[in-house]
Every structure is written in C-alpha cells, then in structure tokens.
Amino acid sequence: MPDDAQPGEVLLDPELQQSVILTKVQWVKDWGRRNALWPMAFGLACCAMEMMATAATKYDLDRFGAGVFRASPRQSDLMIVAGTLSHKMAPRLKRLWEQMPDPKYVIAMGACVIGGGPYSRYGYHVVQGVDLIVPVDVYLPGCPPRPEALIDAIRKLQFRIQERTGESLATIEAKTGRKGAGAARAS
C-alpha cells in the first residue's frame, strides 16, 4: 500500500480498472435469471398456437433467452397460461404451478385467462380469470395475442424481474403475507 493513500480510499491497479466491472451480486443473479427464462410447454387452447409460433423460427423467442420450453414444471421458471382455463383443468394448473421451483413467474396470455374472455357471461365451465388460481405477473390481452405481443409480455416480465431483484409475486406474497387482488386458492 502506498504511503500517501487516504483512509477509506479504494485502491485499484490501473490495469485492473480496465478489465473489471464492479457490481452487486444480486444484479448479476437477476441478469442471469431474466435472460434465461425457461417457459413450461403448457398450452390450453388456441393461444398455444401463437405461443408455438413465437418459439418457432420466424419470431424466434430464443433471441430473448426464453425459448427453451421445458416439458417438466420442475425445470421451468415461467408458466405461460395460453388458452381457455376450464374448471376441470384448474386444479391441474394449480398443481403444475406448485411443482415449479421458486422464483416462478406467470403470464396470463389471452382474453380467456384474463377474465373469461368470450366465456365471461355464459361460460359456466370457464374460470373467470387465472388470477383466481395463481398470482399473475403480466397480463397479455388479445384473442389470441400475436407473437409480437407475447414477446412484448416476456420483455416486460424481464424488466420487472430486474426491478424487483428476482422475486416472483408468489415470493412477495409469502413474505408480506398479502394476497394479490382476487388471488383465491383452487381446491
């Protein structure tokens, strides 16, 4: 240490300053998390067609690091609820969501899972919004939404992951003890 150093001053080798970035570990973790989202291969209805198109070559979801669709919820971070959610399916969706490791994120894709969509008045068999079953991070309207819209939703989710330092809605709810609006539990 040089003799003329002031107390508290950070001393770095000038050569080291050229090649090292100082940042928080949390930021790096979030950066990794948001750029390696693994969605679950889980489609319920016609929105799943748009989801498949988004993952295919023309729209190429892999450009945003979210194109590795996993066949198991235990390997997934992101559940894209794509399609009409019936009351028969709701307990299964809840179970799949519970099998995903934390932190986990949910995108409600399309009008049906946002609030029943075309089945909101007489559809006795359709759950009136997936947020009655699981907490939703991003709502994506459309019937069905185009692939560009799904990419936009995933980008929004990525920004939110960075802002929120990686915590999913489920984690925040568990910490604060507050439920999101209308977040009831299925079966």
Partner: protein, 193 residues
Amino acid sequence: MSESTDTPAAPPADPVTERALAVLQAAIPDGVVAYELTGGHPWIQVRAEDLRAACWLLRDHADTKLDCCHLISGVDWPDAGEGGELEVVYHLCSFELKPEPGYGQRALKNDPWVALKVRVPRDPGEVPTVMDIWTGADWHERETWDLVGVRFTGRRELRRILLPDDWPGHPLRKDWEYPASYHGVPIIPPEGY
C-alpha cells in the same frame, strides 16, 4: 308460365327423408308421431318404444342404409307435456348411398341425411340406447347425458365425458342453477340469473 303466381311453389320434399318415412310407416305403422319433409333439416319423430326398431330399420334397409350416427343432440323442453319433456335428435347419414341429382339445396348438401327425433317425459328422461346399432353413439350418448341429463338405458355405464365427475347437475337444462363455486373457485353467473 301458365301457373298462378299467387301461391309460391311448395318447397321440395327431401328425397332421403321421404324414403325413410315410407320405410318406417310400412314397418311400424303407429311408430311415426310427426314429421317435416321440407326445410333446411327435415326430421321424423318416432315413439320412444319404437326407437330401436326404427334405428335398426333405417340402418339396414336397402332404401336408406343410414350407416353412420353422425351426431346426437338433446333438447330440454321444460314447458312441454306434463312436467316437461326431453328431446333427443339423432342425425344420421349414409356413406353407402350416393347423393341424388338436385340434392344441393340443403345446408348439408351432397350427402343423404335424416334427423330422427324422440321425445320422452323429463322425469325420468329415459331413452333406449343405440350404442349396439352404431358403436360411435357411445360418446354422443355420454355427452347428451353430461349436458342435458338424458338417461340412456340398456348400455354400459353412463359416465360424464366433458365435465368433471363431481360436477353438479346438467348445465344445458333450462332450470340448471349456477353453483356459487366449484372447488373453491367462484363461478360468476351472468346477469339476470
């Protein structure tokens, strides 16, 4: 044009339904209750006790050969008869018969189609099965039981096919009431219910 233009010409009767009616009336004289030979989807209504005989006949008779039960639908008539009636409509078609010339006026053109109807009292709403006549009727009967609540008798176990096994009631009945929730998930009925 020597014909009078006052009255429009009667719409042409459907040839296949006409033949089916002749076959039924010859074999089961009292079986046919009502029929409609014109229009977009002509139909013949038979008594419930003659349903199976009529179905065997329409399937095997050389004039009809309706070898495919394409669809079974149920209709709830809560105000008909005493205590309401349930109607079951069998939409039958034939792969073997060739379409006739001039057969293109109907919605379901080019193929021989016959709609066979049967009506039973709403309680107990029992209709004999046609599963042994057309094997494909199995799932259609299960669906009609699931949504309208028609009890098909003489077949194997009648289970729900679309809705969960513990679903309350048959939702396409006119007096079905929306439950408040299903397994903790609220069911929001439309306004006015």
